[in-house]
């Protein structure tokens, strides 16, 4: 009990803020916009928000893989666009089966990530420069591949476009929410039993019970809102699943543990026998692959690829989302949920400002402010307990 109290205090005193600041920011944003515009919290608008999140949110997940090592990947936007173009050309012009085309896009993303990883680890180029040249170069290749037309449309009734226009039936959504809650509860019960079996300390029963109830309530609210409109969009389910699966992978596998270790102290990791080069290369491959999938989602939503695919503010939003969500730029800290929460913050601001008809100049400045706040928190947490907060 005492230990948990200490852990809770630790979290509140600034070192391990975790998801607290971003959740608070989200609550403030929701309250402000809903009081300014009654349409903001409507099911229709929240459904749009969910649709707008998936692609950039997925790309943000890829960025997190590299940020966890204390490195940066500036190429994820271009890579997402390029891979989407590869997929579209193969399926539209060469008639490749859509599923194979998607797999090809993922393979292309992985190959590009591998190239970046090797340039970083073998040649020793800074990741900033490697991926900056990637940002420019892959954008160039994208424009080259698109050729004169500059735009290729995906058939509206094709399975790739359908991806963004598929809605879960209400019954299925509720079942899914129930199953997720049940699995979460089962894991909590089993973990508790296993800890007790090994004579390890375990939480008082109230805490997991509260978490399970909170999850059930959250899922119920989301499903309730989305089913009143068109239903739960498939892309949201895909994005959320990716977040959860990647979180479980990086926190419970040896490879994931080593990513955190390299991000925390690369020299210590090397001396304990960890192959740092391999871990770093793996992170870039993961980043490229996930970016490619984000590109597929973006192309699906637009039903087309064009010279702007993966361009404009996608890269910046993806990185900003990760950082706003609580991933440290200094490496070793953060979870994949940052992508979900961070992109929710950014898209809420964008969406809310558009509803209010605010000029994009203001929107940029507000987003910048939130980003600066997030990085300030990160920097303070790194410096240790800030004066006056302890």
């Amino acid at each position: 009990m005492k230990a948990y109290a200490a852990a809770a205090r630790e979290r509140l005193t600034g070192r391990e803020l975790g998801a607290l600041p971003v959740t608070a920011a989200l609550a403030v944003i929701m309250i402000v916009f809903s009081s300014l515009n009654s349409h903001f919290l409507s099911s229709e608008n929240l459904t749009n928000l969910a649709l707008q999140m998936a692609a950039t949110g997925t790309i943000s997940l890829g960025v997190i893989m590299v940020l966890l090592l204390g490195e940066i990947d500036l190429s994820v936007g271009s890579v997402s666009g390029l891979c989407a173009v590869v997929m579209t050309i193969q399926t539209v012009r060469h008639g490749l089966h859509p599923l194979l085309a998607v797999l090809l896009a993922l393979a292309a993303g992985a190959a590009i990530g591998l190239l970046h990883g090797l340039m970083f680890t073998r040649i020793g180029m800074p990741s900033f420069v490697v991926t900056l040249s990637g940002l420019i170069g892959w954008q160039g290749l994208l424009i080259y591949l698109l050729g004169k037309g500059g735009t290729i449309n995906l058939p509206f009734d094709g399975s790739i476009a359908k991806l963004s226009d598929t809605w879960l039936p209400d019954a299925l959504s509720w079942t899914l929410a129930a199953v997720i809650t049940a699995v979460y509860a089962a894991v909590a019960v089993l973990t508790r039993r296993a800890r007790a079996g090994l004579d390890l300390p375990f939480e008082p029963v109230l805490r997991p019970a509260l978490r399970i109830t909170a999850l059930a309530a959250l899922l119920a609210i989301v499903v309730r809102i989305l089913t009143t409109d068109r239903g739960v969009p498939l892309t949201l389910v895909i994005f959320a699943s990716l977040v959860v699966v990647l979180d479980v992978l990086i926190r419970h596998t040896v490879a994931g543990r080593r990513m955190y270790a390299v991000g925390g102290n690369a020299e210590a990791a090397r001396r304990s026998g960890i192959n740092v080069t391999r871990v770093r290369t793996l992170a870039f491959v993961a980043s490229g692959t996930i970016a490619a999938f984000g590109g597929v989602l973006a192309a699906s939503r637009l039903s087309a690829v064009n010279q702007n695919s993966g361009g404009s503010d996608i890269l910046l939003n993806a990185i900003a989302a990760a950082v706003i969500g609580g991933v440290s730029l200094f490496g070793g800290r953060g979870r994949t949920y940052a992508a979900l929460l961070g992109i929710l913050v950014i898209q809420s601001i964008t969406n809310g400002m558009l509803l209010l008809n605010v000029d994009s100049s203001v929107r940029f400045m507000v987003t910048a402010l939130v980003l600066a706040l997030a990085v300030a928190l990160d920097s303070l947490a790194r410096k240790g307990r800030p004066e006056g907060l302890g």
Binding site: A3, A261, A268, G273
Partner: protein, 244 residues
């Protein structure tokens, strides 16, 4: 009792400089040997040779009387030699359990066996009487003495026979130094051979069984701690009379 580790006539040259000019050293199981000497006396070089970070140009290292070749840190670990470097090499963002098993995670396929590692970690820390309130918080939240204790405990994960501690008390306050020295005694009580490098003669006389003095890359005296005074050791370090 025969020595667990014996170093004979080790020479190490860096260009024209002889960092080690034929050094002998013995450490027995269940014994704490303090290696002392002024800056540049060759302590670090000798440790690097034994822990596989660098190679001797001449000389023999034997374990249990058998000559061994230590080509790298991995060789040293496989031979049962574990080193705690002065900078500890902990990942501050990871918790105590993760740090203890860093690079040697218990796994089922590539899935971490988290609970089993935590059980082993708690047992290990308890057997060493290391008290850390919450071993699931990041190491960044621990005190200097606790970090040193975690680093020493980590050296025991591979069940070594010789533990080398490089300046374990250098950055610690009085109380934390006492904790770490108590931990060193418990290593000895477990039957481990401990080689302790230190600048602090108070610590050295408090915890060691024997003191080996290096000066300018050569042996400059060896004392049974019980029978030696600090003055004798200082004299050997500076080369002013007595044994030299």
């Amino acid at each position: 009792m025969a020595a667990l580790l014996a170093v004979r006539g080790v020479i190490k040259r860096y260009g024209p400089v002889r960092a080690l000019a034929g050094v002998d050293l013995e450490v027995r199981a269940g014994e704490v040997v303090a290696l002392v000497g002024d800056n540049g006396a060759g302590k670090s070089t000798l440790i690097k040779v034994v822990s596989g970070v660098t190679h001797a140009d001449e000389g023999v290292i034997t374990l249990d009387g058998r000559p061994v070749t230590v080509r790298g840190p991995h060789d040293a670990q496989a031979l049962g030699i574990s080193t705690v470097h002065q900078d500890l090499a902990l990942c501050e963002n990871l918790d105590v359990v993760a740090n203890l098993f860093l690079g040697h995670e218990q796994r089922r396929f590539s899935w971490l066996r988290e609970l089993r590692m935590e059980r082993t970690a708690r047992d290990l820390l308890a057997s060493l009487d290391v008290r850390i309130p919450e071993i699931r918080t990041p190491v960044a939240a621990l005190s200097g003495g606790q970090r040193q204790s975690v680093a020493i405990a980590r050296a025991l994960i591979g069940e070594p026979r010789l533990v080398i501690l490089d300046e374990p008390t250098a950055a610690l306050g009085v109380e934390q130094t006492a904790q770490v020295l108590a931990l060193v005694r418990r290593l000895r009580d477990r039957g481990l051979a401990v080689l302790l490098i230190s600048h602090n003669l108070v610590d050295v006389t408090a915890v060691s069984d024997r003191v080996a003095v290096l000066r300018l890359g050569s042996n400059a005296g060896e004392f049974t701690t019980r029978e030696a005074t600090q003055e004798m050791i200082v004299a050997a370090i500076t080369g002013a009379g007595y044994g030299s």
